[in-house]
């Protein structure tokens, strides 16, 4: 197997995730797109770990998974709070900090 096939697959997933973050308005779907991006990064980490024949890539992938779990927990809590306060989870309507 070539290293590049994994890296290109991860690049495609990453770009689809970026597209999702930019176009989705529903907060939950934006968080899902962020998960796509994090998974693309994980594929890169593990592929480079296999390429260099050490386990550092695997270790960092496990750390990324743990951080992603924390991120989803807090992110969904914030989406729920936003829904409770505004009866909407449209991210384009959240512009209170806009100058």
């Amino acid at each position: 197997m070539m290293l590049n096939q994994f890296l290109l697959l991860a690049a495609v997933l990453f770009c689809l995730g970026v597209y999702g973050v930019l176009t989705r308005r529903n907060g939950v779907l934006v968080l899902m797109s962020v998960e796509l991006i994090l998974n693309a990064v994980n594929i890169n980490l593990v592929a480079f770990g296999a390429f260099q024949d050490n386990v550092v890539g695997d270790v960092f992938a496990v750390f990324v998974i743990a951080v992603a779990a924390a991120e989803v927990g807090v992110g969904l809590a914030m989406v729920l709070l936003m829904y409770r306060n505004r009866k909407s989870i449209d991210f384009t309507e959240v512009d209170m900090l806009k100058g």
Partner: protein
């Protein structure tokens, strides 16, 4: 030894490579299709279910790369926990999004432009840099111990006959300790007969690495998870 392992032993490395490439192609196609549907489908629940396919594909890619531990963690944490969280999030919030057609089209075309540009740049850089980089998997770790206790009945007769010094006239359920040069002769037989004698994967090195070199980040992650837990409760609870 399982039938699967016997078949795998009879394959040449190029045949294994072809099989791996076919598996990769199928998994990658399913993943890209599902990822595309995740970011484009109008139905929120369908998006979550397509996300499951992508996450399972990522786990399969990890296993294809020889990282079975990360693959298992991926299934447990992502498919087991995060997707369930997403489904709860979807059910607790009712998405009522007014559709403004012109704004939506503009957002979509800009998003697609950014995505495609990013893909072109990254794809060019990757192809340019890693054009001939090949993944070579080293052989599984040699077993770390150099002596083993076996039941004589577990050892095939030709081996017993070949090592009269070791086995002598013992037989049946007698336990014999094999060390030194005799052990090297026996290694293939031992691996075939004794469950767990053969070391697959790199779980041991991952554990060593996490609990020695990366112990500080590991503890930091545990504190981060605790903080995220408390933070999520504080943010989401009713007053």
């Amino acid at each position: 030894m399982s039938v699967l392992a016997q078949v795998a032993n009879e394959l040449t490395s190029s045949e294994v490579d072809i099989a791996q490439n076919i598996a990769f192609g199928i998994i990658a196609a399913a993943m890209i299709f599902s990822a595309f549907k995740t970011v484009t489908t109008a139905n929120v629940v369908h998006a979550a279910l397509y996300l499951v396919i992508v996450l399972a594909g990522v786990a399969a890619i990890f296993i294809l790369l020889g990282s079975d531990f990360v693959g298992a963690t991926q299934v447990l944490v992502y498919i087991g926990a995060i997707v369930v969280l997403f489904l709860f999030g979807i059910m607790l919030t009712k998405a009522q999004l007014g559709d403004d057609e012109t704004v939506e089209t503009e957002r979509r075309s800009m998003g697609a432009l950014v995505g495609v540009l990013l893909l072109v740049v990254m794809g060019y850089a990757l192809v340019d840099t890693f054009e001939n980089a090949e993944l070579e998997f080293s052989d599984p770790e040699p077993i770390a111990f150099s002596e083993i206790d076996v039941k004589v009945s577990d050892v095939p007769t030709p081996v017993v006959d070949a090592l009269p010094d070791v086995f002598g006239d013992r037989g049946g359920d007698d336990i014999v300790t094999i060390t030194g040069a005799d052990f090297a002769t026996l290694v293939p037989e031992v691996q075939r007969r004794v469950p767990g004698a053969e070391v697959f994967g790199n779980n041991k090195q991952i554990a060593d690495s996490i609990f020695s070199q990366y112990i500080v980040p590991f503890e930091a992650v545990s504190v981060l998870l605790l903080a995220a837990l408390i933070g999520a409760i504080v943010v989401a609870r009713k007053e």
